[in-house]
């Protein structure tokens, strides 16, 4: 990213946001909090009133207490760290491979046409189909999770990069050409900024998918992490503990979504799609 493009995306438009809107936002947030409280209250009441047996669905207060206990346990944080490690490594590998291949394939008309059928065929293959293969090749190690994560997130990013590279404005590209920019310079200053919003969308989608696959691999294969803890808690009859871990995975999911959105906003601060959001 060039510093010139970054500088245009300052915080200037934010100051003009009308005040009434902020008040409405606060009211909405209040309603949202009310919604969460209502949900928790319903959850608390269902087992207390005996609609569902307490052994199978413990009341919310019990589960939250178990989650708080978990927060004090080293074992819990080790499991979280294992999950996040698999998530991060898998996502990194997938994004790196997809960006590299995406730019190579996307910049050549021949390669794009020749690979289209193969990509369209391989992309919809569900990554869980690879679970047996992962077990055979790697057993219950982190590599199993990585195989599934990389396969699933790779396509998300690759497709977006291909769209992005195809979206390059021919006028801009030809202008750059006539100003004597070489291939590398054109990729750097014309193709890359065009493809960046698409790439960020791909990464955001891939981050969510990667978490799902990390948990899946741990749950089904038994590679270390939160998913395995959930399976263990379930088979061990630690029911509140299991629900607490499910809540924890949800919290991680929300955190990842928020993090990716923030990164997207920071990196694409100069881009009109983000800036129009701020102005409105």
């Amino acid at each position: 990213m060039s510093s010139a493009t970054l500088a245009t995306g300052g915080a200037a438009p934010r100051a003009e946001r009308p005040r009434r809107k902020a008040g409405k936002g606060a009211a909405n947030q209040l309603l949202g909090v009310l919604g969460i409280i209502g949900f928790l209250a319903t959850w608390e009441l269902i087992p207390r009133l005996g609609l569902i047996d307490e052994r199978f669905l413990p009341p919310a207060s019990e589960v939250i207490a178990a989650l708080v206990v978990d927060f004090g346990l080293t074992a819990f944080w080790i499991a979280v760290a294992e999950t996040m490690k698999a998530w991060f490594l898998g996502l990194l590998m997938a994004v790196a491979a997809a960006v590299l291949l995406g730019f190579i394939i996307g910049s050549s008309d021949f390669l794009r046409k020749a690979t289209n059928s193969t990509v369209e065929f391989l992309r919809p293959i569900p990554s869980v189909a690879l679970i047996p293969l992962a077990v055979l090749l790697f057993g219950v190690k982190i590599e199993s999770s990585l195989l599934l994560i990389v396969y699933a997130s790779f396509w998300q990013v690759l497709i977006q990069v291909l769209y992005g590279v195809a979206d390059v404005d021919m006028l801009a590209n030809n202008t750059a050409k006539s100003y004597g920019l070489g291939t590398m310079a054109r990729i750097r200053y014309v193709v890359f900024p065009t493809a960046l919003p698409y790439l960020m969308t791909g990464v955001r989608l891939a981050a969510a998918v990667a978490l799902v696959l990390a948990i899946t691999a741990e749950l089904v294969i038994g590679s270390p992490g939160l998913g395995r803890e959930i399976a263990l808690a379930q088979s061990g009859g630690a029911i509140s503990g299991m629900y607490a871990l499910v809540l924890a995975t949800g919290l991680i999911g929300v955190l990842i979504n928020m993090l990716m959105r923030r990164i997207e906003k920071r990196i694409l601060g100069w881009h009109s799609s983000i800036r129009s959001e701020v102005i409105v």
Partner: protein
């Protein structure tokens, strides 16, 4: 000539890949990688027999039921929540949290609540697939063009007609985007629910092959899942083209202008 070149583009790389696979398994036999001919033979043997009726069809039935119910709930609930402003503000954070929970963790939870039954597996698919459709529908309903909305109001279009002729069409591109996500999610959940706890179905059979080191059979199962995924994606694309024909046409006009 043009058709020939197109066929070359479509078939070139796949044929090349199969040739590489074929030639690399000619000599020494790798335990994990079956020969192409063996795989095709096993594929026919394993999947075109009793197993088609005992494992494949039930799995598919669960998938279809689960995804259809999820789409129905998602669209109806989404229109309801999306059109009532306070309801949307009330429920949105909770729904976002539910969407953020990785759906596979629902398998042990629902196993506990419902036991290992067919309805549990369908429930897993429903409860995982409903979120993308629901949240996308809410978003689509919210983003209805205000000018169109006001025009409809002026013409006295309200109630069911408003939903049929204004809300549903404007939200449909978003809804289809959600449906696409939930289709691939549904396939994943179908397999996982069977791998985790089952005595029949595609996922169970494939894991069974892997545990007994029946490698070509296991690969043939992977191929079945792959073909399923591809078939679903084609069906979806066909349906989308038909349902959203007006939308793609409109986009084309806008882009040309």
């Amino acid at each position: 000539m043009k058709h020939l070149r197109n066929a070359g583009y479509i078939l070139g790389l796949p044929v090349l890949l199969v040739l590489v696979w074929w030639s690399s398994t000619l000599g020494a036999v790798n335990f994990f990688v079956p020969k192409p001919a063996d795989l095709v033979e096993t594929f026919g043997e394993v999947w075109f027999g009793d197993r088609f009726f005992s494992d494949v069809l039930p799995s598919l039935a669960r998938l279809v039921v689960g995804v259809s119910v999820a789409i129905l709930i998602g669209v109806v609930g989404g229109i309801l929540i999306g059109s009532i402003r306070w309801l949307r503000a009330l429920l949105e954070p909770t729904l976002e949290f539910f969407r953020a929970i990785p759906p596979p963790v629902l398998v042990p939870v629902l196993m506990l609540l419902m036991g290992i039954t067919d309805s549990m597996k369908v429930m897993v698919i429903i409860s995982g697939c409903v979120w993308p459709v629901l949240l996308n529908t809410i978003e689509g309903v919210r983003a209805v063009d205000p000018v169109l909305s006001d025009s409809a109001h002026t013409y006295g279009i309200s109630g069911r007609a408003r939903i049929r002729y204004l809300v549903l069409p404007s939200a449909s591109p978003q809804i289809m985007a959600g449906v696409r996500q939930s289709l691939s999610l549904g396939l994943i959940l179908m397999v996982i629910s069977e791998m985790f706890a089952s005595s029949s179905g595609l996922g169970f059979t494939i894991v069974q092959f892997q545990r007994s080191f029946a490698i070509p059979e296991m690969w043939s199962g992977i191929v079945v899942l792959g073909l399923l995924g591809v078939a679903m994606s084609f069906i979806f694309q066909w349906a989308e083209r038909n349902i959203l024909r007006w939308y793609h046409g409109q986009k084309e006009v806008e882009n040309a202008a």
